[in-house]
Symmetry: C2
Subunit: 285 residues, 2 copies
């Protein structure tokens, strides 16, 4: 049970957590903190939060759970604003999609209090953003990865884990670097590829015609290119090493395919496509 949840950044991720916990009766009060009064007001009107505040000093001391769901690039500033007001019984957790740079930043800014920060990442989302995009079932049957610090107490990690279970998610734990590698492959690379595809087609002379004849597969394939550009800029900057390694490996695959297409190597093409179909059908049923 959470008495007072403070959600910093009331968008799809933070708003949906609030809605799920409120629906389960697991939280007494949810206060939104953020920079956009307009978004906070909308969140309150939609019942995503109970009230809101822009002054950290008025909320942070009272909150027993603080969920940071701002773009990664804004996290350092948020940690800096939290630190002076942090109650020693409060737990901070976050929803950032790249973990090791966030942990570095939190360690630098929170100092000894970093033991109250349990880093996390809910593997869920849609291409929509803002408080009005939030819905209470976003985390149902989704996975949340926690990357606990050596200094975290078992009790704090258990509380964050329970919160996510109540919201409907399955929780796993792993190291931050390992998390970043896995997510680079499964999420960051596909997003970068989709953004690049739309950008590439957008620069073709017949761009209107290209999009006119786009079929359902194209829409599915490029849906993630509608995701929040700021969020994805921050992920790219904060998980650059793993993303660049995956892009390198992907380009090698494209080079092999180009060679097979150039040589009309039917056998090689059929092998690659058949393996890919098998893997996709096995893993994504």
């Amino acid at each position: 049970m959470i008495n007072h949840l403070c959600v910093i950044g009331v968008g799809l991720i933070g708003g949906s957590l609030s809605l799920a916990l409120k629906k389960a009766g697991y939280v007494k009060q949810v206060t939104g903190l953020g920079r956009s009064i307009e978004n906070l007001e909308k969140a309150k009107q939609l019942g995503v939060i109970d009230d809101y505040e822009t002054d950290y000093a008025k909320v942070i001391p009272k909150a027993d759970m603080i969920f940071v769901s701002v773009p990664i690039g804004a996290m350092s500033e948020v940690f800096r604003k939290i630190e002076p007001h942090l109650n020693k019984h409060s737990i901070i957790t976050d929803g950032g999609s790249a973990k090791h740079t966030i942990i570095e930043s939190a360690t630098k800014i929170l100092g000894v209090k970093v033991n109250q920060f349990v880093p996390g990442h809910p593997i869920a989302g849609t291409e929509n953003s803002g408080a009005e995009a939030a819905f209470d079932s976003l985390y149902q049957k989704r996975r949340v990865i926690l990357t606990p610090l050596e200094s975290n107490s078992t009790d704090d990690v258990a509380k964050v884990s329970e919160m996510w279970n109540i919201a409907g998610a399955k929780v796993d734990e792993m190291g931050a670097r390992h998390h970043d590698l896995v997510l680079a492959g499964t999420s960051h690379l596909p997003h970068v590829l989709a953004f690049a595809l739309v950008d590439c087609l957008n620069n073709v002379d017949d761009v209107d015609e290209i999009f006119k004849y786009a079929a359902g597969g194209f829409r599915d394939f490029t849906r993630i290119a509608s995701s929040d550009p700021v969020m994805w800029r921050d992920i790219c900057v904060n998980n650059s090493e793993a993303i660049l390694a995956m892009m390198q490996s992907y380009q090698q695959d494209l080079d092999n395919l180009k060679e097979a297409i150039h040589n009309s190597d039917s056998e090689e093409l059929l092998k690659i496509f058949t393996n890919a179909k098998k893997a996709r059908d096995n893993f994504c049923m």
Copy 2:
């Protein structure tokens, strides 16, 4: 009105055309021609076709409309089997996703009778294949591109066009080379990229973990990698020039992105992602 439609290759594309025309009462009899008796029998049981045949001599002379919906690599053989039995009043059309090589092959094999071949391409599909994947609304509000030959009669082109209208589609006409360029961007490139992504991730050490943490975006993004490998092998071989040009241009985009990520160039990343989101939101609403 079509008296006797012959569908060669009763899969998703051919079967769905048959179902749509039967539903509209626009065809009296549909005969399936193919190599797999098992698939033809299933198609008949499902009501996708009225009857089936494996001997071209028994069906082709009677058919007033012949729809060729086999993978592109099998089209030459089909044209070769049609040619000796073709009635001079019959129309042949097809559903191939790459047009200029099909036209070359038809011209060589059908000789003067190529004037009875109206090349076409319905821009529709799902990742499923076979007769059981067919459904009568596949072409509703979808586009069909015809790439008529100089030698086609206006009347034959109009008949093929009307058939697709009845099936629910909007029909456009353009040159075969232009079709192949547009489709390389909007369909062939995305499929190649999706196959390459799944293949790339499938070769990572932690492949099970990668797919375990795949979220909804990944599923959408890779759905088209479940498409029929034989069909896509044939498309790659038959539209290699345009596909290779698009891949080249795409890799240039990836190189730019890699450089921006490597340099933590937040401004450039935000610009690319914002432009892509705008283009995607504008064109795919």
